[in-house]
């Protein structure tokens, strides 16, 4: 059994169906990419896993436990953490307070301090700005902070939603390097990206979402080489 599994998930916004029977899984040690165009249902999938919304049908299983209708706050405690699209930092709080909010569900002070140090190692820029108000950071710094904040929960799975969106190419490289590093340290990553070629090149496995349906799945390499995917998402 995989660490995180979705089985036939249907999800709605009001009366509009956003997901149709989505089934996917993320296992220990993996980077799994979720690609697709705008409105394909990528963010909805993450929100459903996080418990920000609940599916109308289907199941979400984490670590052998059914979390389909578990509260968002509880899911974080179980070990799924998300860096949401648009970073969603606490703009009027300091960088340090943002990171500490990431560790909100934990009470092991010594380990929190160690993780904080680790995040500073991953993102030295974040450490430099730790007493600054988060809203005053540049786009790249904010993305680093958002990822660092997600890691502060010491998650068993980290979900990153569009981490490279709107960043300069050099920063995109940095971000992807860190994603790999996080994964090398043993944390599975579920990565939602519009930059499909970047995402597929780091992903072990990937899913292609089209209008709420899983249209294709395979290893990162398989999808990179697939003609359909190349046409639709890689601009070839």
């Amino acid at each position: 059994m995989a660490l995180l599994e979705l089985h036939g998930v249907d999800a709605f916004y009001g009366r509009v169906q956003a997901l149709h029977g989505v089934t996917l899984e993320v296992d220990k040690g993996e980077i799994v990419a979720l690609i697709g165009s705008n409105g394909a249902g990528k963010t909805t999938t993450l929100r459903t896993i996080s418990g920000l919304m609940h599916p109308a049908k289907g199941q979400v299983i984490f670590d052998g436990q059914d979390i389909t209708f578990t509260d968002a706050a509880k899911i974080v405690q179980l070990g799924i953490c998300q860096s949401p699209e648009g970073r969603r930092l606490f703009a009027r709080m300091s960088v340090l307070d943002n990171l500490l909010m990431g560790a909100y569900s934990r009470s092991d002070r010594a380990n929190i301090a160690r993780d904080l140090k680790h995040v500073y190692e991953l993102f030295p820029r974040v450490e430099e700005r730790r007493s600054q108000i988060a809203g005053t950071l540049s786009g790249g710094e904010q993305q680093m902070l958002a990822m660092g904040r997600a890691l502060m929960a010491r998650p068993k799975v980290v979900m990153l939603d569009e981490p490279s969106l709107g960043l300069a190419p050099i920063l995109v490289e940095t971000i992807f390097a860190v994603i790999k590093e996080i994964n090398d340290e043993g944390t599975p990553v579920l990565l939602v990206e519009q930059n499909a070629s970047k995402a597929l090149s780091v992903a072990h496995r990937a899913y292609v979402l089209e209008t709420g349906v899983v249209a294709k799945e395979g290893t990162g390499r398989e999808l990179l080489e697939s003609e359909d995917v190349q046409k639709a998402y890689l601009g070839m």
Partner: protein, 338 residues
């Protein structure tokens, strides 16, 4: 274009603010030269009123900050604080005819704590029953429930104690310090000390504690806060609790200060305090305190030296000028969201 407008508004706004501020300071200096004693007496009135407005305004601003609800019932929650205190005093054997004695001070402190606690629990219940079920509903629905809640609270207090002006025991010393310049009572000092103490405590709580930070985080981005594992319901309950505890303390302070309270006091006091919260920047805690203090002082000065018929005109003119140039209020959130 937007930048241009912002710059324009910024410069013109700053110029206007400084001009108005200088004029106001000049005026006060002239008043001080004419009769320092009279000015000091007026400032004492303004600061004490302002401190009470501030205690109410904090609750408005905190609740708005976290769930964007104008909690119209908040003024009545303030009155409720005074109402709850009366039976508590009675339980400790202090009737409405009691007079100041040092023996009462520990009881007074205990009643303060109990009033804040009970008032907080009442407000948590109000939130749970009347606002939480409507959290996903259109904005107008909880707004109307809040207005309804205001009527229910006022009606309940009316039914409980009737339309009479409830006389409060004289638990604070009437002693005054008087010389040729200053005339200030123990009561005046009590109001200001209680208000400052509570605001400092609140500020420490909000900025230093985990729950306080979680409240700020929830106010800034509810979804993101949930993704951090913050229990939103608990945080919102805490906000209602603290808002009501402060307002309840304010109601008790008011009643001890003026020795009377009536079921409909919260209407006017709430209206002024809400204005104070907007002036200071709704959602901003320091802003609410500043707004309350400013409105108290401006009102006392205008009442005393111009005419009470102008008080509201001048206060709201200042409010409009501030909002036109700084729509988020004096200390409103000015950090851009990127």
């Amino acid at each position: 274009m937007q930048r241009l407008r912002a710059t324009f508004a910024g410069d013109l706004g700053t110029a206007l603010f400084s001009t108005l501020g200088l004029l106001a300071v000049g005026w006060v200096v002239i008043l001080a030269i004419q009769s320092p004693r009279s000015l000091i007496a007026t400032m004492v009135i303004g600061i004490t009123d302002g401190a009470i407005y501030a205690l109410i305004a904090l609750g408005y601003t905190m609740v708005y900050g976290i769930i964007e609800l104008i909690n119209f019932a908040h003024g009545d929650v303030f009155t409720l604080g005074g109402f709850i205190a009366l039976p508590l005093f009675a339980a400790f054997g202090i009737g409405p005819g009691a007079h100041y004695s040092l023996v009462f001070i520990p009881i007074l402190l205990l009643v303060f704590v109990l009033v804040m606690l009970i008032n907080g629990l009442v407000n948590i219940t109000i939130e749970r029953v009347a606002y939480r079920p409507l959290r996903g509903a259109p904005r107008l629905a909880p707004l109307i429930t809040a207005i309804g809640m205001a009527f229910i609270l006022e009606g309940t207090m009316y039914l409980w104690r009737g339309p009479v002006n409830l006389r409060f025991p004289d638990l604070i010393s009437e002693a005054r310090y008087t010389n040729s310049l200053i005339d200030i009572g123990v009561k005046d000092v009590m109001v200001v000390v209680v208000a400052i103490f509570l605001v400092v405590m609140l500020s420490l709580f909000i900025n230093r504690t985990k729950l306080g930070k979680a409240m700020r985080a929830t106010a800034q981005d509810r979804d993101a806060a949930q993704l951090m594992g913050i229990d939103i319901n608990r945080t919102i309950s805490a906000t209602f609790f603290i808002g009501a505890a402060l307002a309840g303390a304010g109601g008790l302070v008011y009643a001890l200060y003026f020795n009377s309270i009536r079921f409909d006091l919260g209407f006017s006091a709430g209206l002024v305090a809400f204005t104070a919260a907007v002036l200071g920047g709704i959602g901003n805690i320091e802003g609410a305190a500043l707004g309350g203090l400013l409105i108290g002082i401006i009102r006392a000065l205008v009442d005393r030296y111009i005419s009470a018929s102008w008080s509201d005109v001048i206060i709201f003119a200042i409010l409009i000028i501030v909002l036109v140039f700084r729509p988020t209020g004096l200390l409103g959130m000015r950090v851009p969201e990127k």
